[in-house]
Each structure stands twice: as structure tokens, then as C-alpha cells.
Amino acid sequence: MAVIIEVLNKQHKVIERHRFTQPRIALGRAYNNDLILYDKHVSPHHAELVLGGDGRWQLVDLASLNGSFVEPLQPLTQATGLQSGQLCWLGEQALRIYDEHHPVPAALPYNNIEQRLRRFGHPALIVLLVLFLLAEELFSLWLAAPEQNQNRWSRNLLNLPLLMLGLSLWPALLAIWAKINQHEARFLPQLGLTFAAVALMECWQALMTVLNFSLNGAAAVVWLGDIGQTALVILLLTANFYLALQISVLKKVALASGLGLLLSLQGVAVSLLFENQNNLQPQFDNSLMPLTFYLNKPVSSEEFSKDSDELFRQADEAREEPLQR
């Protein structure tokens, strides 16, 4: 009966897989072994796998220097029968032994989501996204610095590649992480995903700016903006982790949500902590845009002065409240 030997690394990931049909298999570092190992703590002729009379494979230690062990880490003193799938160690070299009838899990269907996410790695899409982000960045430079100041423009333009490089750091990090864990790096899909998410965030921000002006700086717009940003961050992280990590979907979503919420809560916490110090400064919405961007109906002067009267009432109420020191 044939035997399958998996050579494992320190993290118990399979690095080699061999199938033998002979009844006696010599294991060790010497070149005349059937399976040649290269861990330096393995003896030249370390152990043997022998097919027993009962059809079970037995591991026999050949008086090796560092000994042999079977799961759960018991030192081998005599020939020991192995279960199919049992782990054993020659010195520190881990092996897993299967007989050929050992059941294997059913084939996994293509993961739909994963397939779709990988499409973000299409070079054309990435080029398109990069162009969009550059255009957006140029637009905001143009808005903020209309002076025909050559120096300032060229300095800002030189910063653009740096900005793109900065944005690529996160996908690079994910790719390296995946590679360390012996998965596909998938750098391009991660890059595409990150750029797409940043582009979406910029669009969301632009939408919120118009909405903020149209709704006169309503608190709801601020909340909507924050919630949208957080949702986008969580979505991006979930997609990133989907491609980079080999953990269950539930764990990926939980990890992404936790990290995303933490990032956005940090902003909220900062504003809550420092809000009180600034409260002598009047807080108002100063957004101004051309009137075409105002999607709401303007109020009349009478309504405005009526609302002003309400402010006096609110100030009187605040006056009644005890002062917090």
C-alpha cells in the first residue's frame, strides 16, 4: 500500500509532498535515503518507515542523535504504528504521514467574491484610477492656489507622485503579509481596491460639500459624511483582508469593522476631547458656493430673524445651566 509523506515547515505548512510504493522507506540527510531531508538536526540515517504485517506503517528510529517523536510529541523508543494523518518529528523536522486512502475534502467551488475582487488588479483599471486621483488632486490644488505662482505649483506637482507612492504603501504591506504567510501576494488587486476606495471617498466628500452648503451645515450632513467614510473604510478593509488573509469570512468582516470603527472613532474622540476648550469661538458653517449649488429653498428675512429670536432663548437656557469647570 502506498504512503504519502508531507514535509512541513516550522508553521506546519506543506513544503513538499512525496508518494512511495515500496514497503520500506529510509529517511535522513544522507543522499542514499529514499526521502532526503535537509534540516541540520536530522541524522544522516535518522529513521525508517516500515509497512507492518497488519497493513499499518510503523516508524522506526535508527539511533539518531536528536531522536524521533510522534504526535503528541512522544519520544520514539521502539517501532511505533502510525495513524493516517498523524504528525511525527525527526529531530525538529515535522512530517505528516498519510495512507493513500485517507479522505480529502471536497473540491471548493471558485469563490465568486474573490474572483471579482481580483478583477480590481486589471492594469487598465488601475491606470484609470490613478488618472482620476491625479485629476482630483490637481483640481483641489487649482481651487486652493489660483495664484499663478510657478514655484508653488511646481512644488505641489512634484508632491503628486509621492502621494501616489504613499497610497501604494498599504497594498504593498498587505501583499508582503500574504507572501510571508505563503499566500499569493495579489499586489495589483490590492492596489486597485485601495485606489478605488480612495476615489470613492473623494467623490463622497465632494457630494457632502455640496449637501452641506445646500442644507446650511446641518448636523445630519456631518453625521452622514462620517458614516459614509467609515462604511467605505470598512468595505475597503474587508476586501483587503478577503484577498490577503486565510481566515473565515466572519473573522475578516469582524476584523475590518473593528479596525475601521477604531480609525473613525479616533477622530470623534479627538473632537470630543478638545471641543470644550474652544467653546468661546462661535461655531458656524462658513461654506460658500455659487448659488447654482444650493439645492434647497432659501429662507426669508422674516424667518431668519424669527430663528434669531430663538437663539436668545437658547442662550438664556444655557445661562441657567450651571457652569462646568
Binding site: W142, P146, E147, R319, L323
Partner: protein, 421 residues
């Protein structure tokens, strides 16, 4: 004949000498006579016994009270549990003082004392003539009582609160000291300095009014309530004068804005029109009644400020123009000093408003209430016109220490005065 001429000449020389001698004597004599009636007023922190503030006070003949500035004794008025008052006279004697009445608008306080001076001061209600020599007395920087000769130069023109313009040094510590004419009669009370021989005095008639009120009403039962009443009455008087005036308007870019609407509101202006490097042309006009009422160390009130900005960015895209435009209304704040112990946080509203004439503006209106004085508020208003793609008119005012009715009336008058196409 020759002898007669000689005697005449001798006589005139002697007369000249005598008169010069006489004038020099009078300043010295004045100081010697009145020095015992001058007191250093000290605010002591009860816990440490250390001086928190010092000023000068003077003893009046009738009634026998001490006069000083409200701002010298404000801590003892507002926090009597923490501060107490003490005087130090020329004989280095100390004694207790008690505040009887205050006038925050004219920065005066009446104080009772057991100390009696041999030559107390009298009030002179007739104003000196322009250019007359007057003497300011006081104890600058705790260096000892001094006499500063100077000139009476009429009333300060551009202040709603009456002040004598005194050409002579009034230094800190001299606050609350008297300014006397050559006869030693009080024509004013030292109150402030604008540096370089430019001093301000509260006129004697303001002191006389406080004395009359005290003689009618007696010692104040609640100084804080008095202050509140005075603030309400003062803002009422100032704004009714402003509101009933016919506001002069001036052309200002795309619109019209008020100019110096009453005597005590002064306007200034600046622009960057001749600078080519700025993308936005900006013209600013700034009007104010900048004299303020002292309420406590970090709390002032009584100012009015109006500001107008006309912006134009001919070479800019409307989006570019508006992104710069909005930065111009980002930082508005009250122009009086206050701590959060004194006022509530600003409550604001911000909306796009369509005016009856059809024009649009983003308007911001903020209100904060005075914690210690009911019915008084600071108000801030900002409006930015939205009817042009590359031009904008910002109108802005802040009022400090006004009632809701005053604020409403001012708002109406102001909105009616500012216009643009």
C-alpha cells in the same frame, strides 16, 4: 525822568519774578495741601494678604467719601469673599474701605472710610477752558504720590462715554486719582491712558451724578444689580442715538454700506487694489465705537463694530473664487473680552436667506448671554452675498452688551442699510 524809568523797569522785573515765584509755589503748595487727601487704594487677596491690584483714591469734602475707579476695586465688588479693600495714606496709616455705589459706565466707585483728611477735595463742575493747565495726581506703579502737570484739551470727540482729553501722563496705579485745576478743585478722575502724554479723565459731572444718586438712594444693596441696570440703560441710550440717526451710506464695490453713522462711530479702510500679485481684490471698511466698559479683569463690554469687505476675483473661475471667499468668513469672533465664567457659549444659526429685494446671502447670526447680568447679550452677524460669480460683499457687525430688543432693532436698521445689486 530817567530815575522814574529805572524804577518802573525795576518794578516790572520784580513783578515778573514774583508772579513766576507765585505760579511755581502753587503747584508745590497744591501738592502739599492735598497730599493727605490722597490715598492708595489696595485690593488684597484675603487668603494670602497680598496685593491683587492698586490704584489711587481721593477724599471728598462733602460728603466725606473716597472716590476711585470702578476698575480699581472691581475684584472686591464682584468677589467680596475673596478680596478686601484697604487704604494707605501719606502718613503710612492703613484702614478698611467699603464700596457704597458704583458707576461702571463712567468707571467710578464711591467708598466709605473713617479716615478724615485736613483738606479734602471739592468738585468743580465748570469745565476748564481748552489749554488750561490741570494737574493729575496719583501713585504710579506704587512709586509714591506724584503730581503730573498737563493740559485740558476738551472732551474726547469719538467716544460715546464722556471722557476728558488730558495731555499729560496717566500711568497705571494713578487710576482713580483726581485731576484738579490750578485752584485744587476736582475737574476729572484719572481713568486711562493711550500712551505718550495722552490721558483720559472721567469728567466731574459724571462724579456729581453718582454722588446725587448716592445721596438719594443711599448705600447700594446689590452692586451687581446696579451694574446690570446701568449696562441696560447705557446700551439703550447709545443704540437709540445710533438708530434714530439718518445713516449716511457710501458706495462700496457692488453695493452700498453705512459710513460713520453717528459721531462716536469712526470708520477706517484699506485695500490691496494696487497689489497685482493677489488673485482677489479686497477692499475693507471698518467702523467702530471702540471705547469699552470695564466689567472685570477679563470681561469688557459696550463696543460696537461693523466691517465690510468687497471681494473681486476677475480672473478666477467661480469655484476658485468661492473657495477663497468662504475663507474670508471663517474666523469671526466677538470683539470684547470675556471668559467662559462671564458668558455662555455662542449659539449660532447659519442659513441662505433671500432678501425682500430678491438678493441672496449666506447669513450667520450668533448670540451669547451674560451669566451675571440678565437680559444682556453679545451678538455677532455675518452675511456674504451670493448673487455674483466672481464678486462678493461681506457685511459683519458685533454688538457687545445689548438687550434682545436693541439687537433686533439694530439688525433691522443694518439690513436695511446694506444693499447690493
Amino acid at each position: 525822568m530817567r530815575l522814574q524809568t529805572f524804577y518802573c523797569a525795576l518794578l516790572s522785573v520784580l513783578l515778573l519774578l514774583y508772579s513766576a515765584q507765585g505760579r511755581a509755589d502753587s503747584a508745590e503748595q497744591l501738592f502739599a495741601r492735598f497730599e493727605p487727601a490722597l490715598l492708595q487704594v489696595r485690593v488684597l487677596e484675603r487668603a494670602s494678604g497680598a496685593k491683587a491690584a492698586i490704584g489711587t483714591g481721593f477724599v471728598l469734602e462733602n460728603p466725606a467719601l473716597v472716590v476711585t475707579n470702578y476698575h480699581v476695586v472691581s475684584e472686591a465688588v464682584l468677589a467680596p469673599e475673596k478680596y478686601q479693600l484697604e487704604y494707605l495714606n501719606s502718613g503710612q496709616q492703613k484702614g478698611a474701605l467699603q464700596v457704597l455705589a458704583v458707576d461702571v459706565i463712567n468707571d467710578l466707585a464711591l467708598i466709605s472710610t473713617e479716615y478724615r483728611a485736613p483738606h479734602p477735595f471739592q468738585i468743580q463742575l465748570t469745565k476748564p477752558v481748552q489749554g488750561a493747565t490741570i494737574y493729575s495726581l496719583g501713585n504710579p506703579h506704587d512709586l509714591g504720590m506724584i503730581l503730573v502737570p498737563g493740559t485740558y484739551n476738551g472732551m474726547q470727540k469719538y467716544s460715546f462715554y464722556p471722557r476728558i482729553h488730558f495731555t499729560g501722563s496717566v500711568n497705571s496705579g494713578m487710576s482713580g486719582g483726581p485731576a484738579v485745576d490750578v485752584n485744587g478743585q476736582v475737574v476729572g478722575v484719572n481713568v486711562a491712558s493711550a500712551g505718550n502724554q495722552l490721558g483720559f479723565l472721567v469728567p466731574a459731572d459724571a462724579l456729581q451724578q453718582l454722588l446725587l444718586r448716592y445721596q438719594q438712594e443711599g448705600q447700594s444693596k446689590d452692586l451687581r444689580a446696579d451694574i446690570e441696570r446701568q449696562l441696560l440703560a447705557s446700551q439703550q441710550a447709545m443704540y437709540s442715538e445710533m438708530l434714530k440717526a439718518d445713516w449716511k451710506l457710501k458706495d462700496f464695490g457692488i453695493g452700498k454700506v453705512p459710513d460713520e453713522v453717528v459721531d462716536f462711530v469712526r470708520c477706517w479702510g484699506e485695500s490691496n487694489v494696487d497689489k497685482d500679485k493677489d488673485a482677489i481684490k479686497k477692499v475693507t471698511a471698518f467702523c467702530s465705537q471702540s471705547e469699552e466698559i470695564f466689567l472685570s479683569q477679563h470681561f469688557t463690554s459696550g463696543r460696537v463694530e461693523m466691517q465690510f469687505e468687497w471681494l473681486e476675483g476677475k480672473d478666477l473661475h467661480p469655484l476658485q473664487f468661492f473657495s477663497l471667499y468662504e475663507q474670508n468668513i471663517a474666523r469671526a469672533n466677538a470683539d470684547n473680552q470675556a471668559l467662559k465664567e462671564d458668558v455662555t457659549a455662542f449659539e449660532c444659526q447659519h442659513q441662505v436667506v433671500q432678501q425682500p429685494t430678491g438678493q441672496h446671502a449666506k447669513m450667520i447670526y450668533c448670540v451669547r448671554a451674560y451669566r451675571a447680568y440678565a437680559g444682556l447679550y453679545d451678538v455677532l452677524y455675518l452675511a456674504a452675498s451670493l448673487d455674483h460669480q466672481q464678486q462678493g460683499l461681506i457685511s459683519h457687525y458685533t454688538l457687545s452688551g445689548v438687550s434682545q430688543d436693541t439687537a433686533r432693532a439694530f439688525s433691522q436698521k443694518f439690513s436695511g442699510a446694506v444693499s447690493w445689486q
